[in-house]
């Protein structure tokens, strides 16, 4: 790794930690950052400990982890397809995962607007992964270019993904209708991409996914750099292209699906973080570690704004889901990307 990449990774990680600390200190009970640090180091009074460790830390931790998972997933997909637009939220992975998770929320819901226990802790992540994988498989299978050396057609991946996402979304809309009002409300809040009232049980599956899969993805770093040069060059360099591609596709899908299960399909993080990281590090592809740190930074920052923005703007005591903030910032960036890609032709 080059020093610039390392430097930026450290910088983003540090910024993410700072924002996380700020996020832990603001809220209905404002706490000095010193108190927050005290609690994190094991001290502090009981009330303060409760607020920080039980209420705010799970939310912030989920945000950091989900940011890492989405961003790395986006970086992998963008590199694999050689298309900056092929992020999990565009090519249908998030929609597929949403359909799975909403199915569990609505169908296993007791009508009380919350599900817990086994269905929530295992059911939602599992259904999300299955839904995400199904979407990936369909999109991947349909966008294979026939003929010698059958490869995935980068342009078609995006378009077919848009179509599959639309189908999955209509499934989600239907699930919302057949469900009980309260279950539907919970599902709708979750669908916007929200970190509201996350508990440690929400963070845990994402933590496991990140801890296991990020190092695995990093092991493919050399192969990824080779793949950027094209399949032919990569296989000449000794990369088993088909196998590596499949493995990375599965890793990317599972990361995005687990993140979706944890916090809903937070929009555009997977699209934007890799692109910005690539720009700043001036690499030929999104560097995984820098992208991961940047993703974490994005999500905690967006959540801080979503949670407090309307109060700061004196609108009222409302909290927005974090996905609204990321969509509002991410969509213009996507439009900018599309514009640039067209100009390049």
């Amino acid at each position: 790794m080059r020093s610039r990449t390392v430097l930026l990774s450290v910088l983003f990680a540090a910024l993410a930690v700072v924002i996380a600390l700020v996020s832990l200190s603001v809220g209905t009970t404002k706490l000095p950052v010193a108190d927050v640090l005290d609690v994190l180091l094991g001290g502090g009074r009981r009330g303060t400990r409760l607020v920080v460790l039980e209420l705010r830390l799970p939310r912030v931790a989920t945000g950091l982890l989900v940011g890492i998972a989405f961003a790395v997933s986006g970086a992998l997909l963008q590199t694999l397809s050689r298309n900056p637009l092929a992020s999990p939220d565009i090519v249908g992975v998030n929609s597929g995962a949403s359909a799975g998770a909403v199915a569990v929320i609505v169908l296993a819901g007791t009508g009380g607007g919350n599900i817990s226990g086994f269905a929530a802790q295992v059911g939602i992540p599992l259904a999300a992964v299955l839904g995400g994988l199904t979407a990936t498989l369909i999109v991947g299978a349909l966008s294979i270019r026939r003929g010698p050396g059958s490869t995935v057609d980068a342009g078609k991946v995006v378009l077919i993904g848009v179509g599959i996402a639309a189908a999955a979304n209509s499934l989600v809309a239907w699930l919302l209708v057949i469900g009980d009002v309260n279950d539907a409300g919970r599902a709708a809040a979750w669908l916007a991409g929200s970190l509201n009232s996350r508990a440690w049980s929400d963070a845990l599956p994402v933590l496991i996914a990140v801890v296991v899969l990020l190092p695995v993805a990093m092991m493919f770093n050399r192969d990824l750099s080779a793949l950027v040069l094209g399949d032919d060059v990569a296989s000449a360099l000794g990369v088993r292209v088909a196998r590596v591609r499949l493995a990375l596709l599965v890793i990317a899908t599972v990361l995005a699906a687990m993140a979706t299960a944890g916090a809903g399909p937070i929009a555009f993080v997977a699209l934007v973080a890799p692109q910005v990281a690539q720009r700043l590090t001036r690499m030929e592809r999104p560097p995984l570690l820098t992208t991961a740190m940047l993703g974490a930074l994005f999500v905690v920052l967006a959540d801080l704004v979503a949670r407090n923005g309307l109060q700061w703007a004196q609108v009222g005591p409302y909290e927005l889901p974090v996905g609204v903030v990321t969509a509002a910032c991410g969509a213009p960036y996507l439009l900018h990307l599309i514009g640039r890609q067209q100009k390049g032709r």
């Binding site: 298309n83 637009l85 939220d89 565009i90 349909l142 980068a154 342009g155 078609k156 995006v158 378009l159 077919i160 848009v162 179509g163 599959i164 639309a166 189908a167 979304n169 209509s170 499934l171 809309a173 239907w174 919302l176 209708v177 057949i178 009002v181 539907a184 409300g185 709708a188 809040a189 669908l191 916007a192 991409g193 929009a267 555009f268 409302y318 927005l320 889901p321 996905g323 609204v324 969509a327 509002a328 969509a331 213009p332 996507l334 439009l335 599309i338 514009g339 640039r340 890609q341 067209q342 100009k343 032709r345």
Partner: protein
Amino acid sequence: MALAVLLLLAFAASLALGSRWLGPGALWHALTANNGSDADVIVRNLRFPRTVVAVLIGLCLGIAGTLMQGHTRNALAEPGIFGVSSGAAFAVVLGLQVGLVDSVSSTVWVALLGALIATFAVQRLAARGSGATPVGLALTGAAVAAMLGALTSAIVLLDANTLDSYRFWAVGSVAGRGLDVAGQVLPFVVIGLLLAAVNARDLDLLALGDDVAAGLGLPVRRARLVGLGAIGLLTAAGVAACGPIGFLGLLSGHVARRIFGARNTWLIPAAGLIGATALVLADLVGRLVGGAGEVQAGVVLGIVGAPMFVLVVRRRAVAL
């Protein structure tokens, strides 16, 4: 002709089939001599109104989609994909929230405004750089739709009451839509259809390229604006009456093109009839497979339409 017959058959089937089968005799009785029997009530109050709405809105969306395909010269053009429906939906939800929307006709106005702004914005945004390419338009539409969707959900989530009505509306359905709804959107539909009829011939010229069309004496700008108006009006009427129903325009446009070729004067009315038939059938299928509940027409079309969309993408080698 064959299409009209097909539509009539679908119409009859929609009246006859449902959780309870009604024979031709019972249908005829219900439509001509109402004496308040169960069958009469089912047909007159439930099945007939929703089928009429399905025909009307199917017509609108089929034609709107085909017009879009013609104007953008883009096989993927579709109000649902291009963010037009999301624009209308966002406007409606915003209108509900600030209290601007209280009846179906005010819904149409607000939806119209949203649809027109979104149509225009997507077109303008996608046309930066080297002009609007098919892929650029589709992606720009997706991006705009994603952003509007997020804003819509933000509004809906801030107000629990809006959510409950919104979720039923957002799925796209003709269930429970009565003749009053059809009546209120009718003026918009009529104007939209007139504009579309005027525009159909111009589209044939525009298909030769803007320069050639202008050379043949066509006021290109005006033709584009008329088309935009027709698309906006028809989509807005559809969204206001039934919620955002996706893929219908795509489906009708392509099926019609298959049968009738590229002549817009034939293509557009044919696509309208196909759209109407498709929506009636989708509603019917949803009613039949749903069992106790029912699957909304929007969902049926989403599940049928997506493979269709994929087929179109695969068939045409769209390069990015």
